[in-house]
């Protein structure tokens, strides 16, 4: 089924939307850290120890991420190969936005960031829980978070990555509706929501990073 152009397009759209859903959830939990250390610790502990989240949602999420980027690369390779002799002069900016033409670049940046992010949080977390089997501590999460944003260098990398995430979302979100065959009177609304979403969420993440850097 995922051999034809349109099926692949749909697969990209669905996996993308799934990741967007996750992003929203991640954002909500992180945002609580700004207001209440307690809520944040509670939610983090729940997410980290609930069996459904850990053994169904988490693998699904990882699968989603892997699928989205593998398919992204597959498409990119096929697309590059569809025009083996390149134009000497190609004015892409005349007819399409930079973001829409460079999803692979914003995608790679976001992917690299994910690597760092996994290294920062996920790997220590797995190590803590499943390899060294350290004792449960429902109040440790906030401290770990604040600690990570101690280095201004890391905050800068995070901030930059979120700018690219914003660019990626800016095209990807509304575009996935087009891929699913939805282009009608609601399209304007979807586009507006996309703009809002792709500005607010990454900006919020950046805010959280800077907030903890300042107050940590």
């Amino acid at each position: 089924m995922i051999t034809t152009t349109i099926a692949r397009k749909l697969a990209m759209a669905l996996s993308g939307l799934f990741l967007i859903l996750f992003l929203g959830q991640h954002f909500t939990i992180n945002m609580t850290s700004v207001f209440s250390e307690k809520t944040f610790n509670f939610l983090s502990h729940f997410m980290g120890n609930n069996l459904v989240v850990q053994f169904i949602l988490q693998p699904l999420l990882i699968l989603g991420v892997v699928f989205h980027f593998v398919m992204g690369f597959v498409l990119e390779i096929k697309n590059t190969r569809s025009r083996s002799v390149k134009y000497q002069s190609y004015k892409g900016s005349a007819n399409a936005s930079w973001v829409s033409r460079n999803m692979i670049i914003s995608g790679i940046v976001v992917l690299s960031f994910l690597g760092l992010h996994f290294y920062d949080f996920w790997v220590p977390e797995i190590n803590y829980k499943y390899i060294e089997f350290l004792p449960q501590d429902p109040d440790r999460y906030y401290g770990e978070l604040v600690h990570k944003f101690h280095s201004p260098f890391r905050v800068a990398i995070y901030a930059l990555s979120f700018v690219f995430l914003s660019l990626h979302l800016f095209h990807g979100f509304s575009s996935s509706f087009q891929s699913m065959g939805l282009n009608n009177k609601y399209t304007r609304g979807i586009k507006l929501f996309t703009v809002a979403f792709s500005l607010v969420i990454p900006a919020g993440f950046i805010f959280i990073a800077i907030f903890h850097h300042q107050n940590g």
Binding site: T5, S82, R83, K86, Y90, N95, A96, G181, L182, N183
Partner: protein, 248 residues
């Protein structure tokens, strides 16, 4: 006007091509782009050189035969026109104009700026029709009233001239706008609905077989399309394809 032309020259499909720079003078702003090319060719002939091969026929923007990539854009910088409708008043004295063939692996170069777009014909042959006998023994034309909005939308999709600017402009060399225009025209009319499932599956399969790239919704095709075919058609085709796939 005096201009510099950087034109892609390639003797035939197998030959290796290269860009050659020419100068041309005394161009009137009222000339069409192709008349400028005619004049240039006339000079080449007088100098005993091989004139530049390019496709063109009706020169009024409807046959879809002209196909140049001018200064980085299909059909040049103007909007909603084909190359033959582009006029030299869009350029300035002293400009350098880069002229290349439409590029896509599915559109191999035949010579210089002329390319082979028969892939488009093959996609149409895979299902771009209503299977009705041409006997004239059909029902009366007014037997099925059609919602004016649907009829108008079907018409808008049907105005595609098959020039290939969508493929040429797309960074992925995707043919989705072309294919979706035909699929949409029939999807919107009751006459086309009967075989809608097979049509979309067959046409999309053929499109993939021809080696066009994937659509990534950049929207370049819609902007460069000389007939302003809307992206809505691509969405409609996606929808039709998914429904058809689920039906099996």
């Amino acid at each position: 006007m005096n201009l510099k032309l950087k034109i892609w020259r390639q003797a035939n499909a197998e030959a290796k091509g290269k860009t050659i720079t020419y100068s041309i003078s005394d161009i009137s702003p009222d000339m069409s782009f192709l008349e400028m090319m005619d004049m240039h060719n006339e000079q080449l002939i007088q100098q005993g050189e091989d004139p530049v091969a390019f496709d063109h026929d009706c020169r009024e923007g409807i046959c879809g035969m002209c196909s140049m990539f001018i200064n980085g854009e299909a059909h040049g910088p103007d909007r909603l026109v084909t190359t033959c409708q582009l006029h030299m008043r869009k350029f300035k004295d002293g400009d350098t104009i880069t002229i290349e063939p439409f590029r896509a692996n599915a559109f191999p170069v035949i010579k210089d700026l002329a390319v082979d777009r028969s892939a488009f014909d093959r996609i149409q042959q895979a299902g771009g029709f209503v299977s009705v006998n041409t006997s004239g023994n059909t029902q009366d034309a007014n037997a099925i009233p059609i919602d004016k909005h649907d009829a108008d939308k079907a018409f808008d999709a049907a105005t595609c001239i098959g020039c290939g600017a969508c493929v040429a402009s797309c960074k992925n060399a995707s043919a989705m706008l072309f294919v979706s225009a035909k699929v949409s025209q029939y999807a919107l009319l009751p006459q086309g609905k009967v075989e809608a499932t097979d049509r979309v599956l067959n046409m999309v399969n053929q499109m993939d077989e021809e080696g066009f790239g994937n659509c990534t919704n950049t929207g370049a095709c819609e902007v460069e399309c000389p007939k302003g075919i809307s992206l809505e058609n691509i969405a409609r085709m996606n929808r039709a394809y998914l429904t058809a796939s689920l039906k099996g």
